[in-house]
């Protein structure tokens, strides 16, 4: 099952050329980019691990693409996303976040039912991948 999180997630995966164009758009607006990775695809897993330091003060996409490719080389089978942070006073939050790398095989989520008191049913979703320990999931 294909993970859909963040911007563009219902589109086919972006090519490097398209990623570069998105980065240029962010830089033109003065947003700072950062790269994050994880192997836990659960939608409530908001805080992924950051790869390196946030990339402030860059003017061109080349430096970020270089960093992204370094991240892909280190974690070829992880989810990797690019975040664009807007530091404008009053906003000070992410403006754009999109997945740029995903595992070759995404097993998806299972629904777990739990019998509660009375006839109550509790539901939870669980990623099949997280049944294995971190680092061995994909």
């Amino acid at each position: 099952m294909r993970l859909t999180q963040g911007t563009f997630s219902f589109l086919p995966d972006l090519t490097d050329e398209q990623i570069r164009a998105q980065i240029e758009y962010c830089l033109a607006r003065g947003w700072a980019l950062s790269i994050e990775y994880t192997d836990d695809p659960h939608p409530r897993n908001t805080y992924w691990e950051m790869f390196g330091a946030p990339l402030f003060d860059l003017r061109d996409a080349a430096g970020i693409m270089q960093e992204l490719n370094a991240c892909r080389a280190t974690f070829p089978n992880h989810y990797i996303k690019l975040n664009a942070f807007d530091a404008t006073r009053g906003i000070e939050s992410l403006r754009l976040s999109f997945i740029v790398n995903r595992p070759a095989d995404e097993p998806g989520f299972g629904l777990v039912r739990q019998e509660g008191p009375g006839r109550q049913q509790r539901y939870t979703t669980r990623a099949y991948a997280t049944e294995r320990p971190e680092g061995k999931r994909y």
């Binding site: 860059l58 003017r59 061109d60 080349a62 270089q66």
Partner: protein
Amino acid sequence: MQDAAMNALSETAGPTENRAFDIHAAFRDSRVADVLAELDRELVGLAPVKSRVRDICALLLIDALRKQAGLSTAAPSLHMSFTGNPGTGKTTVALRMAQILHRLGYVRKGHLVAVTRDDLVGQYIGHTAPKTREVLKRAMGGVLFIDEAYYLYRPENERDYGQEAIEILLQEMENSRDDLVVILAGYKDRMDRFFRSNPGLSSRIAHHIDFPDYTDEELFAIAQLMLDEMQYRLSDAAVETLREYIARRRAQPHFANARSIRNALDRARLRQASRLFARGGPLTQTDLVTIEAQDLRASRVFGAGGNDA
């Protein structure tokens, strides 16, 4: 989609040999002419520098035309080294170079990142590489200007981290040639020694440009440009005094070409201000913009007792 592909195909297959390329139109379109004219107008002298800039412009334009013709074009290496005495315009030309390369489409953003040893070399083991890479990333799409580059290499200290910075620089100069132009600058003799001890660096720099010292006449023209920019004027007597000042200043130690002239003018402005202040009374616009001979005469260069140069 298919039509476009067909067109592209027929274009490459067609008789391209006889197609005429209008170099002048390309020159006009690239707006390089403006930059070159600006270079001529605002930078006095520096003939070898200007001719090299023109050569580079020509090469890049021809390369653009070759690309249109479907001929192979290897991106030329444009790393440069600027050597020359202090105040000969190395930083100014580097800034211009970023604009020119941007207009020619060789660099994508055309900004200049000026750094010195402090910005590249770290303080402890493992600090240098990330620091240097950070700077290189910041300079991507533009020009990295390393002032006084010879400080990177300190042969007297074998554990100096400067060598590491040089190695990373070398590697990136080779790998990210499309993303980055590196300009090293410094005094001639020290740069020569620096290149002799780092032959790898020297061979990766295609353009070694030497900035000659200015003649007295050129320095006077520079002074005129500076005054125009600051909206000041020299009185007729002051023109003669300034010429004399330049000739005398050159003979004294720590002469830094255009920088000395700028300092002299700044001090003349100070003296003009206090002269006007002391005189009191109503001032005309002419008073405000005119620098008199006595403002320059008070300088130490004339041995007139002033305590600054």
